[in-house]
């Protein structure tokens, strides 16, 4: 390890920014993959893997990727919910690798919903 300069400190901070924003729970967009038994059987873990790779490739710092259980619509799995800060969440259904990439590029990164794969905007009322 070469000796650091003040500039090196800044570059380490930049490199670690995603790791830290995850720990601090800060995010611009929140992607939830529904990993119930039905989702896993239909291939939701592949969707998760595709998203993990996309995050790494794009160096996307402010996007949180989480999982949740069955969304209640088992026949439409694999599913995911995309929630861009300040906008209503959107549920996407019948995902595969190509669709996942397209939704990530368009909705998650740019904020443009992909209506052809979307099931609905919003979530159920809770409570």
């Amino acid at each position: 390890m070469p000796k650091l300069t003040p500039e090196d400190l800044a570059s380490i901070r930049e490199r670690m920014a995603r790791t830290m924003s995850l720990r601090e729970g800060k995010a611009r967009a929140h992607v939830t993959v529904h990993l119930g038994t039905c989702g896993i059987a239909a291939g939701a873990r592949d969707v998760m893997r595709v998203l993990m790779n996309l995050l790494e490739q794009r160096d996307a710092e402010d996007i949180l990727l989480t999982t949740s259980g069955c969304a209640g619509l088992c026949s439409c799995e694999p599913m995911m919910t995309v929630e861009v800060k300040g906008q209503a969440p959107v549920k996407y259904v019948h995902l595969d690798e190509a669709k996942t990439v397209q939704i990530f590029e368009s909705h998650v990164l740019v904020g443009k919903i992909v209506p052809e794969y979307a099931l609905a905007v919003g979530s159920e009322r809770v409570g």
Binding site: M1, P2, K3, L4, T5, P6, L9, I12, R13, R15, M16, A17, R18, T19, M20, L22, R23, E24, G25, A27, T32, V33, H34, L35, G36, T37, I40, M48, L51, M52, L55, E56, L64, L65, T66, T67, S68, G69
Partner: protein, 612 residues
């Protein structure tokens, strides 16, 4: 760095490690691998999370979900349900006392809500063994700013403006100390970090080093630059193995990264730090003893010179928490730091909250917070529904503050005025079942062991006071003991050289100040109102409650209980040794503790102490 979607911030402070946190870490990693989640989810060992009472604890990020009291057998369910399927496991969450529903999110738990983290700013957020984690949280940014933009005089001025006072006990303004050392003649100059934390029940400094060692190192390098020192020591006790190990790793990493050694951060400033381990003598926390110990001499205090020296050269000694505050002050500015706290006590203070509170642990709060807020809002009140009686602050040199003063704001001046002191930050909460004479006896016993023996007043006076207190607790107190204790206290204070002797009588004086009646009850009535001193209370079986199950009789090691099956049992007072076995075992709570002579005056006294 490879992105993960989830970080499991597992506490590996000493408290959680003793509850098998390292084993949980291993099982977690194995189970994650079994589900092929090892590339998606990272296990991050952190320093003390603070909520030691609920350990081992783990915070799942980014969701902020707080799990507590984890065991190896819980791991499989956690991984399958939460980490794979995203369904948090409610049974492993924290449920506040008196409530039914668990609180999933850490930020909603009262224990964490009132805290303000400055010295502990990275707790639970970084892996203490990874310097990159510290740098990512603005670590060493203050050092870079200081070395490239500020003169040593400007650094000292900033620290003076911030109002930072020594966190080791006396509360001397740090900036003024630095200024005098900068001006002191002699080369080389030294920096020392005092990590010889010796108060019973105190673990603030230990936790800071275990959770964020680089914050202490960075503070020391900044201090060295300000003072013009070239060499530093961390004086730490050998009884803190995890802290020593993490500090050692941190020093090696800092050297490797050019943050210690020659030409720090590519500039012209040279400074290096070594660890000096102490054998755990209480007196070594005292400045002149500490310096003697570093020099390799017997750690006896010396007549305090106007300026302490190490090997005859100027030395600046500050405590762990003081050093950990320094980088934030330089980075965020003196005005920001001075905006927290009270008029004369700025910033925050780290406390180890122990004793009879529900939520024991490590807390950091703004100066000026009241005792009540710490005990009830953060501490969750007293365990077992007992009444709050007193809080001991400042360790063996401190004193007990009664519950009637629970609205007292905690800062240096207020605590001193109340007859106690800030000390290094131990807070021991006591309830109605604690006897204040016994508490004073305990601290004097500790100090008898720890006195170095140099000054006659401390060496002989403290043991005499201890024996008098022990006699009072055993029912052999005589009229005039209280007055003699007060006289001896003054003599020990007047004729001792160092802080240990000068403050040794404090536990006696402060309990006498607020609980004189309790002393009198012991001496005059041969009665221990709290039922702690064995010769001064007795056990009874309540005839109305006892159902004759015989559990007490079976458990009694001295055959001091008589009674037929299914009829009321009775304790034979002559044979009873007050071991308490029957009290612990009775399923009906029919066994009671009773002061030897029930005084109406005593019950009135206790009533007055009930929190409003």
């Amino acid at each position: 760095m490879k992105p993960y979607r989830m970080h499991l911030m597992l506490c590996t402070g000493t408290g959680c490690v003793s509850n098998k946190a390292f084993r949980i870490r291993r099982v977690l990693e194995e189970t994650l691998a079994k589900h092929q989640l090892q590339d998606e989810i990272a296990v991050v060992p952190t320093g003390c999370n603070g909520f030691c009472a609920q350990g081992p604890v783990m915070v799942v990020q980014p969701d902020g979900i707080f799990y507590q009291m984890l065991a190896e057998r819980d791991v499989a369910e956690l991984v399958e349900e939460h980490f794979l399927k995203g369904r948090p496991v409610r049974r492993l969450m924290f449920t506040p006392s008196g409530e039914r529903e668990p609180v999933p999110r850490m930020s909603d738990i009262g224990f964490f809500g009132k805290q303000r983290l400055v010295a502990l700013r990275n707790r639970g957020l970084i892996d203490p063994e990874k310097i990159e984690d510290y740098i990512a949280r603005d670590g060493y940014a203050a050092l870079a700013k200081v070395l490239t933009e500020m003169t040593p005089e400007q650094v000292i001025e900033e620290v003076k403006q911030s109002g930072l006072r020594g966190r080791g006990g006396a509360g001397f303004p740090a900036g003024r100390k630095w200024e005098s050392r900068r001006k002191a003649p002699g080369e080389p100059k030294y920096i020392v970090c005092n990590a010889d934390e010796g108060d019973p029940g105190a673990f603030m400094d230990r936790s800071i080093i275990e959770s964020d060692p680089h914050s202490v190192l960075e503070g020391m390098v900044i201090g060295a630059y300000a003072i013009g020192a070239s060499r530093g020591y961390v004086y730490i006790r050998h009884e803190y193995p995890l802290a020593v190990e993490r500090l050692d790793i941190a020093i090696r990493q800092a050297r490797e990264f050019g943050l210690l050694g020659t030409g720090i951060l590519g500039g012209g400033f040279d400074f290096d730090i070594e660890i000096r381990r102490g054998a755990g003598a209480f007196v070594c926390g005292e400045t002149t003893s500490l310096v003697a110990s570093i020099e390799g001499q017997s750690p006896e205090p010396r007549q305090r010179p106007p300026r302490t020296t190490l090997w005859g050269k100027p030395v600046n000694i500050n405590n762990v928490e003081t050093w950990a505050n320094v980088p934030v002050i330089l980075l965020r500015g003196a005005a920001w730091f001075a905006s927290i706290g009270t008029e004369k006590s700025k910033g925050t203070k780290v406390f180890s909250l122990v004793g009879k509170v529900r939520n024991t642990g490590l807390v950091e709060v703004p100066m000026g917070i009241t005792i009540r807020e710490v005990v009830f809002d953060i501490g969750g009140g007293l365990a077992d529904g007992k009444r709050f009686k007193a809080i001991q602050t400042g360790g063996p040199s401190g004193g007990c503050i009664p519950a009637s003063l629970q609205n007292l704001p905690i800062d240096y001046e207020q605590l001193t005025e109340a007859g106690s002191m800030m000390g290094s930050g131990g807070l021991i909460v006591m309830d109605e079942s604690d006897c204040m004479v016994d508490v004073a006896r305990y601290f004097l016993e500790f100090l008898t062991d720890e006195s170095c023996g140099k000054c006659t007043a401390c060496r002989e006076g403290v043991p005499v006071m201890y024996r008098m207190l022990a006699n009072i607790c055993e029912g052999r107190g005589t009229q005039g003991d209280i007055e003699l204790l007060e006289e001896l206290s003054q003599a020990v204070i007047d004729a001792s050289l160092c802080g240990l002797g000068k403050s040794a009588p404090n536990p006696v004086l402060s309990t006498l100040r607020y609980f004189r009646d309790e002393y009198q009850a012991h001496i005059r009535d041969r009665c221990c109102p709290a039922c702690v001193c064995k010769p001064l209370f007795h056990y009874l079986i309540d005839e109305d409650i006892c159902n004759g199950c015989g559990a007490c009789k079976k458990s009694c090691p001295h055959e001091a209980i008589e009674g037929e099956a299914k009829s009321v049992h009775r304790i034979l007072q002559d044979q009873c040794t007050k071991c308490g076995a029957c009290f612990d075992v009775c399923p009906k709570d029919a066994v009671t503790k009773n002061p030897n002579r029930i005084e109406t005056r005593e019950s009135r006294e206790v009533d007055e102490l009930v929190p409003a």
